[in-house]
Structure formats: C-alpha cells, structure tokens
C-alpha cells in the first residue's frame, strides 16, 4: 500500500522525536560517555534528523500529488470565470439589452399592450444573448 502524505508527515515526527531523545541522552550523560560514544550518538542524531527532513520532502511531494486533480479543476473554473468577465465586457451585448429596454420603456409610456408584450419579449431575447 503506497504511503500517504499524512503518514509520511507522521513518520517525520517520529524520526525527529528519536533524534531529540538521543540528543537529550547525550547531554544528560555527557560526563560518563567517552568521546567516541558521544560522536557515535551525535552521528545517529544527524542521521535521524535528516531522515525526518527527507520524510518531510517526501510528504510534501505526496501532498502535491494528492491535490493535483483539484488544481486542474480550479484552474479550469478560474479560466472560465475570467472568460465570462471578458464576454460581459463586450459592449455590444449590453447595448442590445439596453436598446430593447428603451423600447420597452417607450411601449409602456404609449400604453400599448401589444407593444409592451412585444418589447418585453425583445428584452428577454436580448438578455439571452448575454453569455451564460
């Protein structure tokens, strides 16, 4: 079973905890340890802390892999939204709607029910030309 980002982060903590435990032991027993023993323990501490850092590198990579699909999805959404903004910025579509709205206003003022209905439909049709 492949490792998950969460498991890799957990392992990095365990390596770090072991390095800290060894370090505490080395300083607590400094006087009773021989120089060689101190050096050997210190060497193990660096191995453990580097294993922890390596595991972090691995975990970050896994977290990136695990969210890759979502990144693609958001990218598409953002592009679609930005393209929609550009579409709405096209003045001609707005003018079509505005002109139809003015026609509706004129029909309302003239109290002509047929013209009101006709122009209301034009407003509706013009609105449909706006990008979905």
């Amino acid at each position: 079973m492949p490792l998950t980002a969460e498991e890799a982060f957990d392992l990095s903590k365990q390596f770090r905890d072991l390095a800290i435990t060894l370090g505490n032991y080395r300083f607590a027993n400094w006087k009773t340890l021989t120089p060689t023993q101190r050096r050997d323990i210190e060497d193990e501490e660096w191995s453990l802390i580097n294993s922890s850092s390596d595991m972090i590198t691995k975990a970050v990579g896994l977290a990136l892999d695990e969210s890759e699909t979502s990144v693609d999805s958001i990218n598409k959404s953002a592009k679609k939204a930005k393209s929609a903004i550009k579409k709405l910025e096209k003045v001609s579509q707005i003018i079509t709607v505005a002109a139809a709205a003015v026609g509706l206003g004129a029909a309302i003022v003239s109290k002509d029910p047929g013209a009101i209905a006709k122009n209301a439909k034009l407003v509706l049709d013009a609105t449909k030309t706006l990008p979905a």
């Binding site: 980002a5 969460e6 982060f9 990095s12 903590k13 770090r16 390095a19 800290i20 370090g23 300083f27 400094w30 210190e42 060497d43 501490e45 660096w46 802390i49 580097n50 922890s52 850092s53 390596d54 972090i56 590198t57 975990a59 970050v60 990579g61 977290a63 990136l64 695990e66 969210s67 699909t69 979502s70 990144v71 999805s73 958001i74 990218n75 959404s77 953002a78 679609k80 939204a81 930005k82 929609a84 903004i85 709405l88 910025e89 003045v91 707005i94 003018i95 505005a98 002109a99 709205a101 003015v102 509706l104 206003g105 004129a106 309302i108 003022v109 407003v123 609105t127 706006l130 990008p131």
Partner: protein, 283 residues
C-alpha cells in the same frame, strides 16, 4: 390614431407603473462588494510565497550545523525539493487566479456601461416625437434595467463558480495548510534541533568563557530568526484557514448571497484576513 393629452395625473400613473416594473426587475440585486473585498484580499494573501523559498533553502541552511560528510545528502535533498518548486508555487498561483476571477465577477465595474447608455440617450433625443422628459426617463429606465440584468447575470455566474469550485478549492487549501503546518513547521522543528545540538555541543566542549559567550549569542540570534519564521508559518496557516472558512460560507449560502448575516460574516473574514496579512508582512 389620436393619443390622449398627457395630464399630470396620467404622468404620475406612468411613473408609478414604470417604478413598479423596475422594482420587479431589480429585485434580487445583490451587494457583491463584500465578496469582492474577500476575494481580493484572499488573492493578495496567496501571493505570499516567502515560506516556499525558505522550504527550498532548508537543506543549505542545515549545512551550517551538520558535519561535512552530511553535505552531499543535504544537497540531494535540496535538489529533490527544488524539483517540486513549480508545483508548490502553482498552489499559490491557482488560489490567486481563482480569487481574482471571483473578485472580478463581483466587481461593479464590469457592468458599468454609463458611457454607452449616454450615447443611446443622445440618439433618442434625435428621434422625432420624443420629448426631452421622455428621453431622460427612457435613459434612466435603460440604465436601471441594464444594471439589473448585469447584476442578475453576475449573481448567477458567481453562484455557479462558487458551487463548482468549493470542493477542489477546499482540497487545495487543506493540502497547502498541511504542507505549511506539518512540512514547513516540521522543518522549523528540525532546524531548532540542529541549532540546539550544534551550539550546545560546542559550548559543552569549550573551556573558553569568551568563546562560550559568543556562541550563546549566536545561538540566541539564530533562534530568534527561527521563531519569527515559525510565527510567519502560523500566520499563513491562519490565512489559509480564513480563506477556507470564508469560501465555505459563500458555498453554504450561495443561493442567497444577499443574506445580511452572510455579508457580515464575509466582511469580518476579509477584515481578519487583512489584519493577518499585515502582520505577516511585518515579520
């Protein structure tokens, strides 16, 4: 066909009728300023990539403390981290891009067509049988209707955007938060270990009081720098949490973006985000 003479009462009725019509059409116009502010500050927050640089530099900083025979391993680690730099930065970029798009849709400017409407009114003035009062009234009606239609369109676009994006956005924000807290935060803990181990070993081995004092001073300085970085990590994690919470609220209430309680919450989220961003920039 003879049109009836326009009386003051008839004019009032016309105005009342038009007002009712406009009222009906403009119902549901939404104040999107709060969403725009929230999206803009979220986009600005996502631009902060200093932590990524420090993550990439971590193995090289470790060389200060670790024996030379460890340097090759640290260089390999640096290479591996560097190979994911683009993907790491992409998480920031994608949140920024998305928030810019959301903010753009929520911005009033995209439906401000006052100049075009003014040209339309001028054209009407030249039409036979249109009185100046009517021209002015038509222009106003056109303006209100255009804005109402634009607002309605924007609202629908925002609803759809929030609806289809919330799931993947939450995944990216959670993943980035995990990387920041456990990855970058884990690096800080490892660096703390390295600083303490290195200086404590040197200090314990030394018999020179002046040398010990200098070493202690350096240790303190390194630890202060590291503490500031840890503070930046915590602040950035809080930023990601606020963006996540704010967007979730928008998603939960996407069918009623005009809800007063939602607007208040989003305004509060934007304010909190700005405060944290100001803090992190000072670190």
């Amino acid at each position: 066909m003879r049109h009836p003479q326009t009386s003051p009462i008839f004019m009032k009725l016309k105005i009342l009728f038009c007002s009712l019509l406009l009222l009906g059409l403009t119902q549901g116009c939404v104040d999107l300023k709060a969403i725009q502010d929230f999206a803009n500050i979220s986009a600005e927050s996502a631009e902060y990539t200093t932590l990524v640089d420090r993550y990439l530099e971590f193995p090289n900083r470790q060389k200060r403390y670790q024996p030379e025979d460890r340097h090759a391993q640290l260089e390999a680690m640096a290479q591996e981290r560097l190979s994911r730099k683009t993907e790491l930065l992409l998480r920031h970029d994608v949140i920024e891009e998305y928030m810019e798009a959301l903010g753009g849709l929520a911005a009033d400017e995209i439906v401000d067509q006052s100049e075009e409407l003014s040209q339309l009114t001028t054209k009407l003035q030249n039409q036979a049988g249109t009185s100046p009062a009517e021209t002015e009234a038509f222009g106003k009606i056109a303006g209100v209707l255009t804005n109402a239609i634009g607002d309605k369109w924007r609202k629908r676009q925002i609803q759809e955007l929030i609806e289809r994006s919330n799931g993947p956005l939450q995944t990216i924000l959670n993943s980035l938060k995990q990387i920041v807290v456990e990855g970058f935060g884990g690096d800080d803990q490892n660096e703390q270990f390295a600083i303490q181990s290195y200086y404590r070993t040197k200090i314990t081995q030394s018999n020179d009081p002046a040398g010990i004092a200098a070493l202690m001073e350096w240790q303190e300085r390194r630890e202060e720098n590291l503490a500031a970085h840890t503070q930046a990590i915590q602040a950035y994690a809080a930023i990601l949490e606020k963006i996540s919470e704010g967007h979730q609220k928008l998603y939960d209430e996407r069918n009623d973006l005009a809800k007063a309680q939602l607007i208040q919450q989003i305004k509060k989220s934007a304010k909190e985000l700005k405060d944290i961003l100001d803090t992190i920039k000072k670190i």
